[in-house]
């Protein structure tokens, strides 16, 4: 019996494909045109404002506070990475004696909480060094990768793994798991790279 969940999709397949293609074209036009530098220049006042906020004041004044929040960022990143490695490792066929559905659902709960803490502590840290990171290309790589990771996790990976996985092609499952691991590894690595810049 097919126990796959049925979802009501308000937009049909052809309009969806057209919207996705349109968004992709927009993204490419943005990336390779002068729009990107205009947007970047327009963001400077916002980053200067961030340094004047309470978070920015605390981060700049007390190095200990900044370091403590950064340690919290590291711990929650560790937990996020653990949840990703656990869940995607299971999708790749590791720890096969553990129940697949419970592992995926349980890991996702942990992932959500860890992501929330990572983002909160990350915003705090950026406020402390906002103008410095504004001029760092690696910061923008991290933000881009983080955005891709979040969108991928919630809008591509989750709808797929919420299904009955026996109906899904094993190649697609493994490809999704590998992509997820690569994205979050890159988020962590680019974050570490900011520290070296």
């Amino acid at each position: 019996m097919n126990s796959a969940t049925t979802r009501q999709t308000p937009i049909g397949p052809y309009p969806r494909a057209a919207i996705a293609t349109g968004l992709l074209a927009l993204l490419l036009a943005f990336s390779f045109s002068g729009m990107r530098s205009e947007v970047w220049t327009a963001l400077l006042p916002f980053f200067e404002w961030m340094e004047t906020t309470w978070f920015g004041y605390v981060g700049k004044t007390w190095g200990g506070a900044f370091a403590t929040i950064q340690a919290g960022h590291l711990v929650s990143l560790g937990v996020l990475g653990g949840a990703v490695l656990f869940s995607d490792g299971r999708l790749l066929g590791l720890y096969s004696s553990l129940p697949l559905r419970d592992v995926i659902d349980g890991s996702h709960q942990v992932f959500k909480w860890a992501l929330a803490v990572v983002v909160f502590t990350g915003v705090f840290m950026v406020c402390g060094v906002a103008v410095k990171v504004y001029y760092l290309p690696v910061f923008w790589y991290k933000m881009l990768t983080l955005s891709v990771g979040v969108l991928f996790a919630f809008y591509v990976r989750k709808p797929l793994v919420d299904r009955d996985l026996s109906d899904v092609s094993p190649l697609v499952i493994k490809l999704t798991a590998v992509a997820s691991i690569m994205v979050w590894f890159t988020v962590a690595a680019t974050g570490r790279w900011i520290g070296f810049s």
């Binding site: 097919n2 796959a4 891709v148 991928f152 709808p159 109906d167 697609v172 992509a179 994205v183």
Partner: protein, 80 residues
């Protein structure tokens, strides 16, 4: 030859049976439709996951290869 007991009653019974048969057919076609929709939904999610995940894997593989190459060039420049 059908013996009609009460006027119209056999017609009503036939009508009820016909209605039940019609409802059953509709229910079966609805189930088939929703199974079909869910299979199409599954295929959509699969295609989306394959395209996006494939793009991510290819992009990051290329990105890290270039990063490693540029680090090697930098080290060669620094140490000769």
């Amino acid at each position: 030859m059908v013996h009609r007991c009460c006027d119209g009653s056999l017609d009503r019974i036939q009508l009820i049976a016909l209605l039940r048969e019609y409802k059953l057919e509709n229910m079966m076609s609805d189930t088939k439709k929703s199974e079909g929709e869910s299979r199409r939904g599954l295929k959509d999610d699969e295609i989306a996951a394959m395209i996006v995940a494939g793009s991510i894997v290819v992009f990051f593989a290329v990105y890290w290869i270039f990063e490693i190459m540029s680090v090697r060039e930098l080290l060669e420049m620094a140490y000769g």
